[in-house]
């Protein structure tokens, strides 16, 4: 049981990294970015290329798996997204789905449609024994990384000036602008950060779930579930929702394999009906 909880929590941490960026930018600008997991996919492919073509060590690829998608997102944001901030939900959905389709097609063209194999360094393979239980080393690494990032994010949000600006913009955009906060710049930076984190998540996900072009859509569904359940604009909400979804999914597949993903969708619908703005959302 502990094993299932541990694995579930690790999976949840992965989902958190993939989702937190979308939650904050959705909460800030109300912009539905369904290309978010395409950024994750890009991050994954950055790691794959660096490791398999240029033999970089795994850990060294991670900063680039973060930066690559972040830069790409800046380009998308400048060129396309900013024209649609006031547009309808539908238009934003369509634009970003279109971009996701294009990214997936390009990835399939460059890398093919089969899963990419990467070999993790030895110190991340195998398991660690503590307190009389065995924990997978990679999953432990994942959890520690995610918790570290969470603390960093929470700290930055709470204690830095930029963090205060982001919080203000999420809370009340018009008021924040009126106070002289450059909401557009804050959004662009936050968006890049969120996409970068997604990219990092994509790189970290290779070992757990594998990477192929369909990643952009398969995990988009999970990310959307985490974001809508956790509440828009809430890091804490994403954390809780991701942990919940991660644990439910692993536990469900372990204890009731017949139900499969059925349970997750049911839980999501029920939670959204009870709290349409998400568990920690405000609208």
């Amino acid at each position: 049981m502990i094993g299932v909880l541990f694995d579930g929590f690790a999976y949840g941490m992965l989902l958190f990294l993939l989702s937190v960026g979308l939650s904050v930018t959705l909460g800030m600008m109300n912009f539905v970015n369904l290309a978010h997991c395409a950024f994750a996919m890009i991050g994954g492919y950055v790691t794959v290329t660096l490791m398999n073509q240029w033999h970089w060590p795994f850990l060294a690829t991670l900063p680039l798996a973060f930066l690559g998608p972040a830069l790409v997102s800046v380009v998308f944001e400048r060129a396309l997204y900013r024209r649609l901030y006031g547009a309808s939900d539908l238009d934003q959905v369509l634009l970003t789905i279109g971009l996701a389709f294009v990214s997936v097609a390009v990835a399939a063209y460059l890398y093919g449609t089969i899963q990419q194999p990467v070999r993790m360094p030895d110190y991340l393979r195998g398991s660690v024994t503590a307190l009389g239980l065995t924990f997978g080393a990679y999953r432990l690494f994942l959890i520690i990384m995610a918790l570290g990032i969470t603390l960093l994010l929470a700290g930055a949000l709470e204690y830095t000036r930029f963090g205060a600006q982001v919080r203000a913009a999420v809370d009340n955009q018009r008021m924040a602008r009126g106070l002289g906060i450059n909401v557009d710049a804050a959004f662009a930076i936050t968006f890049a950060l969120g996409s970068g984190l997604a990219g990092l998540g994509g790189a970290l996900a290779i070992e757990i779930v594998g990477l192929d072009p369909s990643f952009a859509f398969t995990y988009l569904i999970y990310v959307l579930i985490v974001v809508s359940v956790g509440g828009l604009g809430s890091i804490g909400g994403s954390f809780v929702a991701a942990s919940l979804i991660g644990i439910s999914d692993v536990a469900g597949k372990y204890y009731v394999p017949g139900l499969g993903a059925f349970l997750i969708y049911l839980v999501m619908i029920a939670l959204l009906m009870w709290r349409p703005a998400g568990l920690f959302g405000r609208r």
Binding site: L94, L95, I97, G98, A105, V106, Y109, Y265, L272
Partner: protein, 329 residues
Amino acid sequence: MDASAISSPQAYMRLQARWRPVELAFWLATLLPFWLTPDYLVLASQIAITALFALSLDLILGYAGIVSLGHAAFFGLGAYTAGLIAKYGWGEPVTGLIAATLVAGIVGYAASLIVSRFRHLALIMITLGMGLLLAEAANSASWLTGGADGLQGVKIWPVFNVFSFDLYGYVAYSYALIVLFLVFLLARRIINSPFGLSLRGIRENAVRVPALGAPSRAHLRKIYTIAAAIAGIAGALLAQTTETVSLEALGFQRSADVLVILILGGAGRLYGGLIGAIIFMVARDQFSGNTPQFWYFWIGALLVAVVMFLPNGILGGFAKLASRWSKVF
């Protein structure tokens, strides 16, 4: 439009609802495949079915503003209902069609009780979730649905005991086209009715409508149920004309494709789904071939282009052109 050119408000409204020559030309053109492209009648019947499905989505998306990412659920329900009825002995197509409509409509009504209460992201997620839920359930219930292998042993009897479905698709296309046209007439009537006007009001400004004393949730439930029933008809047609049903009939891909089709053609214009279906299906038939990723590259690029430059789809682009022309002349 200048008020002086209009004789009375009633005349104006009648003008709006009148059949335009280009519409008649369109429907006459749908008969052309029988003479011009008799080798492609099977494709033509597929297009008619997809057009009907897109029309059903237009009723909720284009006219009532409900963004659904799970509309294929009703298409699939219709398909499986018609398929199962035929598989278990009753292959009469028209009654099978009616049964499928009823099943899809009833489930649509149940879903509408939930759907009518939400907007924005919550609505998108709930429709997505419901669609995925049904797809999962269909996958798991392989004893009923045939699972990933699809429904086997579906045998459809001749229509009215006279017209048996031939290999070339003459009967299939005629059948699908007639059903499409009849349902289209119904949809057109709905749009031009007081109910249709209220729906457009809800789409334009959902807050104002209850402030006018309108029961907007009841209106939304009604149109959602109707749209679900029509999607069910389309699904049943697919099952009956191809004598197979597979899981992709209710999958997310189908929901996403029909959304793309509707937007391409232009939502809220009744013909948008039809035009979009023709273009999408013909293009896919020609270009998809061996490399599906090229297909999705161009569809993605097209979506981006449509949203950035042609926000009301192809028909919207035409409408803008037409209004500019009429200002010049």
